[in-house]
């Protein structure tokens, strides 16, 4: 397996996980940027504990996710009652605080980053990453198709009506934020394992742009769009000719703006997802009838 293939598989999975972390709160009209700082926190936690304390990967994953949830706990309770703007700005500011700390604290390697984690073999790395991709996908799918998913729909359309119907919107918001932070932290740990280390430049504005583009292009209101958007967008920047590679960020930005203006629901909206689902079901029924 070449490095390109490894990175393609790794980053596709990591960015799908990140996009799913963002998807949950965005589905309820909550522009929560917590997954971004959680990703940075998770990555630094993994690198620090692996390099300095020699923790095994399974312990790192559990503790990093728990750490991200704990870090997001107080903001989650406070932000639950606020609207979209304050939530977005507060989480963006938290993202910058985490980055500033990472860039300036010597214990995290400052601007050079923190390297020296014992690298996992390609097979182990991919197995762990895709196992977690399936787990996260299952959790998000189950949430989508449960009482919480229906509550998210209600909050999305009208928060006040949802509250009047007995949905505890504040509690739901806290649950969403903490789940998103946990998933974001997991994406960060996997990111750190991919590079066997971490560096602050990986978590700048570009990460936000990248995550938002995947979510917006794929489809903000279904979990399936990110599965298609993440690999395509990653490959797209890699196969660009060298002369155009410097335009990568500009292309992403332009794509994001275009989608928000022209098709804010993304390439795969709920209607598309439902149509595909119906088609699959009828196909299976047809096959079952033939076999029967």
């Amino acid at each position: 397996m070449t490095l390109f293939h490894l990175y393609f598989l790794q980053f596709s999975a990591i960015y799908i996980i990140l996009a799913w972390a963002m998807y949950l709160p965005f589905r309820a009209n909550q522009p929560y940027f917590g997954p971004f700082y959680s990703m940075a926190l998770g990555a630094y936690f993994a690198a620090y504990t692996a390099v300095n304390w020699g923790w095994p990967p399974w312990l790192i994953i559990i503790c990093a996710v728990a750490f991200c949830v704990l870090f997001s706990l107080v903001p989650a309770f406070k932000l639950a009652g606020l609207g979209g703007f304050p939530m977005l700005i507060a989480t963006l500011a938290l993202f910058f605080i985490v980055l500033t700390a990472a860039r300036n604290l010597a214990m995290f390697g400052g601007r050079h980053g923190l390297f020296g984690m014992v690298p996992l073999s390609n097979t182990a790395l991919l197995s762990v990453t895709y196992a977690f991709l399936l787990v996260v996908g299952f959790v998000v799918y189950r949430l989508d198709h449960s009482y919480i998913g229906r509550a998210l729909d209600a909050v999305h359309f009208d928060k006040n009506v949802a509250a009047a119907m007995g949905i505890d919107t504040a509690r739901l918001s806290v649950q969403l934020q903490l789940t998103a932070s946990a998933i974001g932290g997991l994406a960060g740990v996997l990111y750190a394992f991919t590079f066997a280390g971490v560096f602050p430049e990986a978590f700048g504005f570009n990460l936000i742009l990248y995550g938002m583009t995947i979510l917006t292009v794929g489809g903000m209101y279904t979990m399936w769009g990110s599965i298609i958007a993440a690999p395509i967008l990653w490959v797209f920047t890699q196969v660009l000719p060298d002369s155009l590679k410097t335009f990568g960020i500009i292309i992403y930005g332009a794509l994001l703006i275009f989608m928000l203006l022209a098709r804010p629901s993304g390439v795969i909206d709920r209607g598309t997802a439902a149509a595909v689902s119906r088609r699959w079901k009828s196909l299976f029924k047809g096959v079952a009838a033939q076999q029967g």
Partner: protein
């Protein structure tokens, strides 16, 4: 004591610059509902264009200043059509994400295609180097004093415009209630475009003042400037112009003092922490909504 006074003057100068930027932020929020996170980056883009014009005209100050003042509204008017459809369908969060994307794109352009990505330095003549006031052991550059004076003047002129002119009343009417303003015959889309251009003009003026004051700029200047202005915005309450002025001055002084005692990057963390603390514990801000 002399050092402290010099720092206070520096802080007030910095704060008055923030005040001009915050006015632009507030104006857009009040009139269009757009929280333009890319606005500070567009301001920095104006600084870069000024630098290009200065380089091309052998440091002609008049042309350099003209470039900043013209490029500001021009950039504002060019980017306005991207926001107007979103403003029309009241998609404020989408507009915020668009503004963020515009900021990142501009930042990327500056970090790749200007001066090989290195920070730019403005000619000393722009900072009125050679003209200074000696205050004991401390030297206060004339450029800093001019920046302070012009910033204060701009703030007062803007308040006069907003409160005493017909177009200012139109802006306030749209800010107060868009629907009623429309019923009264005010063209809301035109007012929105005008507010983008006016904000751009404020950005252009701020660009030249920042260039005079700091003498340098880098592609990521807009990020930290944006976060500081957001801190002021939330601390003072969004849309509260007078509160914004007071908080901007306060932040300038705190930052000026912090720069003496804290390493460079940590001063930014103060602004970020202010944002988080205010939003978490006093989300309505210190001054509340302005009526």
């Amino acid at each position: 004591m002399e050092v402290l006074i010099a720092q206070l003057i520096g802080g007030i100068k910095l704060g008055s610059l923030y005040a001009v930027v915050v006015i632009g932020f507030n104006l857009l929020i009040l009139v269009t509902g757009v929280m333009h996170l890319g606005y500070p980056t567009l301001l920095v883009l104006s600084m870069y264009l000024t630098w290009v014009v200065l380089g091309a005209t052998h440091n002609s100050l008049i042309l350099g200043i003209a470039a900043a003042i013209v490029s500001g509204p021009l950039i504002g008017a060019v980017t306005a059509p991207l926001f107007l459809p979103l403003v029309k369908r009241r998609a404020h969060l989408e507009a915020l994400v668009v503004s963020l994307a515009i900021g990142i794109i501009c930042s990327d352009i500056m970090s790749h295609w200007f001066n090989l990505g290195l920070p730019i330095a403005f000619p000393q003549s722009l900072q009125l180097e050679g003209h200074s006031i000696n205050f004991g052991l401390t030297v206060i550059r004339m450029g800093e004093l001019v920046t302070l004076a012009v910033s204060i003047l701009i703030v007062f002129l803007f308040l006069y415009f907003l409160n005493r002119t017909k177009q200012g009343r139109v802006l306030r009417a749209v800010a107060q209630d868009t629907e009623v303003a429309r019923i009264l015959g005010i063209s809301v889309p035109k007012t929105a475009v005008f507010s983008f251009a006016l904000t751009g003009l404020l950005g252009g003026i701020s660009a030249i003042l920042f260039a005079m004051s700091t003498g340098a700029a880098s592609a990521d200047l807009g990020d930290s400037l944006g976060m500081k202005c957001l801190a002021v915005l939330f601390l003072a309450s969004i849309g509260n112009l007078k509160g914004g002025l007071i908080c901007a001055l306060g932040l300038g002084i705190v930052e000026s003092l912090a720069m003496t005692y804290l390493p460079g990057d940590w001063t930014n963390a103060i602004a970020f922490s202010v944002i988080v603390l205010v939003l978490l514990f006093k989300p309505e801000g210190i001054f509340g909504e302005q009526h």
